[in-house]
Symmetry: C2
Subunit: 679 residues, 2 copies
C-alpha cells in the first residue's frame, strides 16, 4: 500500500498528503496556505512563485529527492525567458507534486504579506486590502441561455474565486462588453470587497491579465498640510509621498476661524469644500506623475482628518462643530465613490473610506492614531500626542483609552511663524545654539550637513535656505531657552542681556537672528518674540490637553509618550520636552512615531479588517471635550512658561537660567496650576 506524497509548506508549517500530479498551488489552496495567484493557476501571472527545498529534513521527518516535483516545463521556461525567475524558484501552478517535498512560500508570493513599518515601536501591516485583482475566464454568450455579460462575469467570479456576489456601476458596465471581447473572454477585474453582507464591487476591468499594478492613496488631510502616500495595493510598498498646503488656509488658519468663515459668509462652506477638493485632485495627479503611473490605477483612497476638515471634505456645513454640543452630521466611517465627493483625477470608480470620528472635536485623525499606535493594547499607560494645527491626544492602556483634541494652531507646522514654512527642501529643520558663544548651526531639508560643516554651501546651493519648518521652530525655541536667550516667561533677551549681537531689536522686543542672506537678496531668518508667543500658545494648548486627559484618568504621570505629527518623524523628543509640549516622562520613554495619523490611514488602506477594528475601537474610547472644560483653561494658562527642567531631567542638564528679569508672574518653572512630582 502506498501513501500519497507529503507536502510541507514553510513558513506556515502547514502539511498534507496529495495525490501525485497535484499542482503545488492546488495543494496550497486546499491547506489554506497563503500563496498568491491572480490568474487562478493559468501560468500567466507568476504570482505563485515557490522555492522547493531538497535533501534531508529531520525536523519534518522527510527526505526530498530531486524528482519530488515535476520537471521544469514550457510555461516556466517561457516566463523565465521573458521576465526571469530567481534561481531555485518554480511556478506553483506548474510544478506538480511527485514525492515528499518541503516548499517555501517567499514573502512576495504571500497575499497577506507583512509590510514592516519603520518606527521601532510599530506593528507590521498585514496586506489584505479592500481592493484586489482577479483574473477570470468568462463564458461566451449563448443565445439559448441568454444571460447578460455581467451575469456571466459574476458567475465566473463565483466559480473561479468563490466570490458570491458582485455589482458594477454604469460606467463600468459601459466598458464591460468591449473589454470582454478585446480580452477574448479573459479579463482581470479589480474587486472592492464591501462589508460582509454586501456585494463586491467591480471597480475596474482590463482585457487579459492586468500587470500594471493597483494603487491606493492614504491621505492625512490636516488643517494646514495635506500629506498623501501612494501605496502599491499588491505589495504594500509606498511608491510616492507628496504633500501640499491646505488651500483652505486663506479662509482661516485654524479650525474655528474656518467654521466662523462658514457661519459669516453664505456659501463659505461650499467655497472651502471646492478649494480642498481641487487641491486633492491636483495632489492625486502629481503623486501619480511622480510615481510614473496612470492615475486611473488609483482605485482606493483612505482619508483621516479632524471633524471640521471631515465635514468640509464631504460638503457638509461645519457650523454645528463651532458651538456646543459640537454635533457631527455623522460620526461613523464613510464609504463612498470618489466622484460623489468631487474627486475626479483618480479612477472614476475609486472607493473612498474615511475613518470614523470619535467626537465633535476628536476626529478620524485621532481614530487613525489609535489604529496606528494602539494605546488600547498597551500594558503601560501611554500618552500619544499627534501634533498638528489641531492636536489629537490619546491616553490609555488595556483597561481604558481617553481621547481629546487640542487647538494648538498652525505654529507647529511653521505657519504663523515669521520665517516659517512647510517642511520642504531649503527649510531649516534642525538647529543647535552653542550655550557659550550663542552661535547657531543648523541643517536644512535636502542635506545631511550642518551649516558649520565644509561643503554645506555647495550642498544647499540649489535649494537655498528659505525658512524654518515646524520641527525647526520647536528646536529653535528650545535651544534659545537652553542657551539662555529666553527667560522662563518666554521673553527674548537683548544683546546686552544675552551677550550676543544675534539678539537684535525688533520693535519693542527682540529677535534672534539665525541666518542672514539679505546682503545677497536672500532671506533674513529670525525667531521673533511673536514666534515665541505663537509657540508658547501652541505648546500650552498641547500640554493642557494632555493634563486634562491625565486628570480624567486620575493620574499625574504617564509611563510612556509617543510623539507623532504630520510633519513626520522629525520632532526632537528632547526639544519637545524642554519646551514643555508634553508632560514629564523619562526621556528614554519618549518616542517619535512619525505621522501616526497618516500611518493609520495607510493601515486602513492595506488591511480591510483594520477598518472593522477601528470602527469598534472608537466606540470604546472615552471622549473628553476640551472646549467646555474649565480645567483646560487653567492648565492652558499655567503651561505658558518654558520651564527649567534640569532638576527633574538631568539629561537636559544643558539648560541654564537667564540672568535677565523674568516677566512671568508664575516665576521660573512650571508655575501656577501645574503640579510636578519629583522622583
Amino acid at each position: 500500500m502506498t501513501t500519497d506524497p507529503l507536502v510541507i509548506f514553510t513558513p506556515s508549517g502547514k502539511r498534507g498528503h496529495f495525490p501525485p500530479g497535484t499542482p503545488v498551488l492546488t495543494a496550497a489552496r486546499q491547506l489554506g496556505v497563503d500563496l498568491d495567484s491572480v490568474c487562478g493557476g493559468r501560468g500567466i501571472c507568476s504570482k505563485c512563485q515557490i522555492t522547493p527545498s531538497y535533501g534531508e529534513f529531520p525536523k519534518h521527518g522527510v527526505t526530498v529527492t530531486e524528482d519530488a516535483l515535476s520537471d521544469w516545463n514550457a510555461v516556466e521556461q517561457r516566463y523565465d525567458d521573458k521576465r526571469g525567475l530567481k534561481p531555485g524558484r518554480r511556478l506553483g501552478c506548474q510544478a506538480r507534486i511527485q514525492g515528499d517535498v518541503v516548499i517555501d512560500v517567499p514573502p512576495e508570493s504571500q497575499v497577506h504579506r507583512q509590510v514592516v513599518r519603520k518606527a521601532a515601536t510599530a506593528r507590521a501591516i498585514t496586506m489584505d486590502p479592500a481592493t484586489r485583482l482577479f483574473f477570470v475566464q468568462v463564458q461566451e454568450p449563448d443565445m439559448h441561455s441568454p444571460t447578460g455579460d455581467l451575469e456571466r462575469l459574476a458567475s465566473a467570479l463565483r466559480d473561479q474565486w468563490d466570490i458570491p456576489r458582485v455589482t458594477a456601476d454604469l460606467s463600468l458596465l459601459a466598458k464591460l462588453q468591449p473589454t470582454l471581447r478585446k480580452g477574448k473572454w479573459q479579463v482581470t477585474v479589480a474587486l472592492h470587497k464591501g462589508h460582509a453582507d454586501t456585494a463586491a464591487r467591480i471597480t475596474e476591468i482590463w482585457p487579459g491579465l492586468h500587470e500594471g499594478g493597483l494603487y491606493g492613496l492614504a491621505i492625512d488631510l490636516g488643517s494646514t498640510t495635506i500629506a498623501a502616500h501612494l501605496t502599491n495595493l499588491e505589495t504594500g510598498e509606498v511608491t510616492a509621498s507628496s504633500g501640499l498646503m491646505n488651500p483652505q488656509i486663506r479662509f482661516g488658519e485654524d479650525l474655528m476661524s474656518r467654521v466662523s468663515y462658514a457661519m459669516m459668509n453664505p456659501g463659505g462652506d461650499v467655497e472651502m469644500t471646492t478649494a480642498v477638493r481641487a487641491a486633492l485632485n491636483e495632489l492625486t495627479t502629481e503623486i501619480a506623475q511622480e510615481a510614473g503611473i496612470d492615475s486611473s490605477l488609483i482605485v482606493e483612497t483612505v482619508f483621516v482628518c479632524n471633524p471640521v476638515m471631515h465635514h468640509l471634505l464631504l460638503g457638509l456645513d461645519p457650523v454645528e462643530l463651532g458651538q456646543a454640543p459640537f454635533a457631527l452630521a455623522t460620526s461613523d466611517s464613510i464609504s463612498i465613490g470618489a466622484p460623489e465627493m468631487g474627486l475626479i483625477t483618480m479612477n472614476p470608480r475609486a472607493r473612498i473610506y474615511i475613518l470614523p470620528c470619535i467626537a465633535g472635536h476628536v476626529g478620524a485623525d485621532a481614530a487613525a492614531v489609535a489604529l496606528s499606535e494602539e494605546p488600547g493594547k498597551s500594558d503601560d499607560l501611554v500618552l500619544v500626542v499627534d501634533v498638528g494645527t489641531n492636536a489629537e491626544l490619546l491616553l490609555g492602556n488595556k483597561t481604558r483609552v481617553l481621547a481629546c483634541s487640542s487647538p494648538t494652531g498652525p505654529a507647529f507646522e511653521g505657519a504663523q511663524i515669521s520665517s516659517g514654512q512647510r517642511a520642504a527642501p531649503g527649510a531649516i529643520e534642525r538647529i543647535e545654539i552653542n550655550p557659550d558663544t550663542k552661535e547657531p548651526r543648523f541643517q536644512v531639508i535636502g542635506s545631511d550637513l550642518w551649516s558649520d560643516q565644509p561643503g554645506f554651501d555647495e550642498a544647499t546651493a540649489t535649494t537655498g535656505i528659505t525658512g524654518i519648518c515646524g520641527s525647526g521652530i520647536i528646536e529653535a525655541v528650545a535651544e534659545m531657552r537652553m542657551a539662555g536667550l529666553l527667560d522662563a516667561s518666554g521673553l527674548v533677551g537683548s544683546a546686552a542681556q544675552t551677550g550676543t549681537l544675534r539678539c537684535v531689536p525688533e520693535g519693542r522686543t527682540h529677535a534672534y537672528l539665525i541666518h542672514d542672506a539679505s546682503a545677497d537678496g536672500g532671506p533674513r531668518i529670525t525667531v521673533t518674540q511673536g514666534d515665541i508667543r505663537a509657540i508658547q500658545l501652541a505648546k500650552s494648548a498641547l500640554y493642557a490637553g494632555a493634563r486634562l486627559l491625565m486628570d480624567e484618568m486620575g493620574v499625574d504621570k504617564v509611563d510612556r509618550i509617543v510623539l507623532a505629527g504630520a510633519f513626520g518623524a522629525h520632532i526632537s523628543t528632547k526639544h519637545a520636552m524642554v519646551l514643555g509640549m508634553i508632560p514629564d516622562a523619562p526621556l528614554a520613554k519618549v518616542f517619535s512615531a512619525g505621522n501616526a495619523a497618516g500611518t493609520g490611514a495607510r493601515i486602513a488602506l492595506c488591511n480591510i479588517a483594520a477598518r472593522a477594528e477601528i470602527e469598534w475601537v472608537v466606540h470604546e474610547i472615552t471622549k473628553v471635550e476640551t472646549a467646555i472644560e474649565p480645567r483646560f483653561q487653567e492648565h492652558f494658562v499655567a503651561a505658558n512658561a518654558i520651564p527649567h527642567k534640569t532638576d527633574t531631567f538631568p539629561e537636559l542638564s544643558k539648560i541654564i537660567t537667564l540672568p535677565a528679569p523674568s516677566f512671568n508672574t508664575g516665576g521660573d518653572g512650571a508655575g501656577g496650576g501645574r503640579r510636578r512630582r519629583r522622583r
Copy 2:
C-alpha cells in the same frame, strides 16, 4: 378573577386580550394587524383611523358597550376641528381599550391596502412600496456621548420602527443637521428598503410631520412612445398619466435602425442616450406640474423597456444587441440612483428600478407583462401580446412560459402612417365604414361623439381632427377590409371597383379618404396603400411571433388571448382579429388588458415583493429568439394576407369579399404555411 378585554379587528379577524388602557394602535401592532401609522402613535399623522362597532356580535361572541373605548380626547378633537374625521372614526393611537370591542380597519388605514385594477382579468395590487415615510423623534446631541446626528437618527429608526440599519447619501447628510433642528428633533424620513441584506436608504427628510405625500413614476419606455404614470406611493392611486414621443425616433424608427445608427456613427449611442434622458426629465417635470406636486416628491421610478431602450437609457452601447448572439451587457434588474442615469428633475436621491431583461431581444417590458398578466399562474393556455414598435409575446400556463419579441415596427403606434400620430386629443381612435355606402364615421380622442352625431363639430372645435392614432389605423384597415375596399392581399380598390369616390387615386395606387378639411386649411386624412402595407408588415410580424411560440409549445391553438399595448386599452379585439394580428381564438376569449407593461411597472413600483417575484420568474421563462429562427420568416411571409374569416367566425359576419382581383398568390384566406383548425 377578571379577564382582559377582548379586541377583535375586522376585516382581518385577528383577536387578542389586552389590559385596559392599551391604545388600539398598540393592540393592532401586537396582533400584526395592518393598521397604518407614520407618526408612530403620536396623534399627529391621523393615518391610524379606525371604526369601532357597538352592540351584539353573536358571530364573535361579544357584546360591545358604549364605553368599550376611552372617551374622545383633545387630540382627536383638535384633529377633527382641523381636518375633520368621518363620523364614527377614532384615532387608533388615542382611543384606548376599556372593554370588549370590535374594531374595523378601513381600507385607507391599511398600509398594505389593495389597489383594484380596472381590467376585468387583473389581480389587485397590494400596496407595499419600496419607499415609505417614517416619523421619528431623534435624541438631541450630547457632548458626553458624542455620536453624529445621522447615527442618532438611525438609532431612533431602530428603536421606534425596528429598522436595523440605514445609510444616506452626502446630499442628504448635507441637509440633515438643519432639518433636525428646524423640526425640533422631530422629522419625517422617506426610507427606501433595499434587498433584505442591505441597509435602508434615507432618500428624503422633512422637519416635523411630512404631509405632502410621496410619489413614484412607473414608466413604459417604448421605442416610439414613452408612457408615465405618476403614482401616490401611500394610496397606490395614479395621480396623473402622461406620455410623449421617444425623441430617439429621429435616429431610426425601429430598434435595429437605432442599433445601426450607434454602429455607424461614433458617439451615436451617447446622442440617443442624451435624447431619451432629456425627454424623461421633461416628462417628469410635466407630469408633476399636471398633478400639482413638487417634482422632488418623486422618490422612486420603475422602468420597463425593451433591451435596446434599456441599454440606451443606461448609457450602454447597444451594438451587441444588433448581432447574434445578442448579448446583453446585463440582464438582471438594475437598482441605482436617479442622477447616476442622468435623471435630474425628480428627487436627487430618487431610486430607479429597472425590471430584469429576459433575453437579448426580450426585455424588461416583456418581464413587466409577465408580472402583470401572470401567464405562469394560468390554468388555461394564454397568449399575451403586448403591441408596440417591438411586440412582446408570452405564451404559457402553470407548466411552462415561453417568451419572444417581434419587430412589428412603429405602424401600430401611428408612426410610418401617412396621417398617423400618437394618441392625443384630435386623433381618430375609432372608425366604422358602412359596408353599403362605404361612408366612414369616426370618434376622436377628447370626445365621445361619433362624427355623424349632432354636436360633433362643436365638441372637436378646440382639438380639431389631426390624424389617426394606433388603435384608429388598426380599425381603419380592418373596416376597409370588411367594407370590401381592400382585397385579401391588401390592395385598395379604385373608385370604379369599390363604387365609392372616397377611393381616390394616389400615384399608381389608391387611398381611402376619411376626412378632408383641406378646403379650410385643415388636414386631409387618408389611408394610403403604403399605410396598408405598413400595417400588414406589422401584423405579420406579430402573428409570426405568436405562431413561433405555439410551434415551440407544440400547440396550434390557444385557449385565451390577452391583447395589450402601450396605447392603452383601446385596441379593438374584433378588429385585431379581422386584421389577423393574432391567432384564431373565440372572440369571447380575447381580452384587452391595456398597457400591461406599464401595469407591470406600476406593480413593481407599488409592491417591493413583486420585484423579487419577477426576478425569479424571468429565470423560469423559456426564451425564443425570433431573429435566427427560419420558421419565423416562413410564418411572417404566410401571414401577410388579410384573411376572410366569416367561415370560422360567424360573429365577424359583416366581412364581405371584394370582387376585385386578388394579387395575393396564396389566394383569398390565410394562405401558405398558416394552418387553420375548424371546430
